[in-house]
Symmetry: none
């Protein structure tokens, strides 16, 4: 093995990162492989040593992105002790802050992923992955809520599933609005909103 697996993985990631950058800037259709290669400091053909096609590379970027922005933080936060309401707040805040900081420039990528899942041949691959990701996320949030009910913090007649779905959506959409409107502060909006929601959830 002249070139170790680690080195291959390394280079793969290097290409993925370059691709993410270019896809984010130009969109899937507007991106040309040559630019990704140039951005990664390699030859055009080399990209095809690591990915079978432009679409494949795009999907790899998608997977990487999902993982990167993944639920690690959420899981750890939701697994903490303390009142469910506090954990919910912490989760919300962490998401908004993390994203606002480092993911802002990458948000257009998410839109490209949505768009990819909406049309073209890629549809199913992306749609499935998105469904899964949303389901996972909803699962984390709904168990957090369920925990709050069991602890007697939240009203017992709450159905955790739809609430979780809505909350996940809210966070998602706040970031979207922030992306559209640079003066919009998603963390602040989320704070205010979560106050209301938690107050609505809480047993009187």
């Amino acid at each position: 093995m002249v070139v170790s697996d680690t080195q291959k993985k390394e280079k793969r990631k290097q290409i993925i990162k370059a691709a993410a950058q270019v896809f984010a800037q130009k969109g899937y259709a507007g991106t040309v492989i040559a630019e990704i290669a140039a951005c990664a400091g390699i030859g055009k053909g080399t990209v095809y040593e690591y990915f079978d096609s432009k679409e494949d590379l795009f999907f790899a970027v998608f997977e990487w992105y999902m993982e990167e922005s993944g639920s690690a933080a959420m899981v750890s936060i939701s697994a903490l002790g303390g009142p469910a309401s506090a954990r919910l707040m912490a989760l919300s805040d962490s998401l908004m802050k993390t994203w606002s900081k480092e993911m802002k420039e990458a948000y257009s990528l998410v839109m490209e992923f949505w768009s990819a899942s909406a049309s073209s041949q890629m549809r199913q691959r992306f749609k499935d992955a998105f469904s899964q990701a949303y389901a996972d996320f909803r699962g984390i949030v709904s168990s957090l809520i369920r925990d709050g009910i069991e602890r007697g913090e939240f009203r017992p007649n709450i159905d955790p599933e739809p609430i979780a779905a809505a909350l996940v959506g809210t966070w998602d959409a706040l970031l979207l609005q922030a992306w559209f409107d640079h003066v919009f502060d998603p963390a602040d909006a989320a704070n205010h909103f979560m106050d209301v929601v938690i107050s609505g959830l809480t047993r009187l």
Copy 2:
């Protein structure tokens, strides 16, 4: 004037509708002008009598769409009398139901618009229009909330703006989730969630 302006307008709209259909199905990049022309029952060249370019046509579809799905319904609902909480509920329900119906055809179009606003040359045009649309929508909702506060229905220490922003986002995102996952019922989730939110808003 042999051909009246009305006739031109008519044909223009006909093309836009055909384009909307095809763009929704195939995405912007995946759409070929020929198919739009065929779908509109006209010749390929004729499209260029009414629009300067593919991008122009796409933007025209966008404008038409924004207008069509515009805030007419929302305004009318929010302008009704009665308790703010009831109006908020009605607004939520109306949105979810209206969209659920026409979603399959239309939602992927919205994604294409997002994607267009995220990348490419079209960016600014779309981004501005989206910002505006969101701002308008937020405005309607926040004045509804403000009204609730003034009426003494809602807690006085609520800041209507961020709550409105979050609500708008929630509705948006619930529809997105519904689009991804066909068994997901956005109207039901919205109902449960609005109960919580209104309960959180309400003065004890």
Copy 3:
């Protein structure tokens, strides 16, 4: 119908002829569509208005060639009256002369067709067509021989099928040799050989 079907057919043939020329010169793999287009005096893209792919065009050339060099002459000669031996001779002579004259430059095309039927994805299409063409040709010759037997000209214990197969092959191969070796005269060789064969066929 702005452009008549006749005109389309005309242009199609024009492209086929240009393609035949270039394929003959450069071979299938060595041919680039651009050159065919240039040779036909049209734009590169126009080729694709008439043919779906390079392979399709190649097959169209094949079909055209088969038809062009087709059995018209053979059929007419074999249908003549007179002794079978004379008709066999005339057929042989006509084939050699026709081909030597106008088809020499095109012979490399035939080799490309063979090669195409030997490998690649096109295999079956070409193979089937070749089989058919050979079968047709063999049929003509064998019925000519059968006729000779029935007339009492040829020995009754002859089996016409294998003889026809061999004769068809002989003519084919003589032209091939002529193509390799420009001083080789296939008509002369065929004459001498047919003398021997007819003498061998003839009832003593």
Copy 4:
């Protein structure tokens, strides 16, 4: 000399054999060096230690093939004693049988050679070699016929050269037909045909 010439020659032949196999299966254009290397059990780069280019390797395969399938058998048969007619029959039969056996793998290779000689840059190299091979083969057959004339077996007014040319061509073409049509039996056809030809050659 650490690595003996013999070892180099060995490896060279190993590559040639692998290449022959792949070229036969995929055709020249359809073959990728990587597959040849894999088939030979060596690295892609190693091929270039032994051959300057793909074309060079192809020509080496051609030369090897010509030598391998060379006239050894023919010479030995034609050199036997006994009547010329018997030797002619034996030669025909041996050719058909030998080839029928190994045809499937090898015949498409021959077509590739033909095709190579018909077009491309390789043309002359191949064409010359083919001309030579045909000339050699014709020489063997024509001297056999001449021998038959001298022995008084065959008619004295026969010109051996064109007859030999035609016979060589016939065998060639029968194998071609057999390759196209798997139910066609070239040995049987050759037998019948040679009966007629020998009968035509024989002094009454």
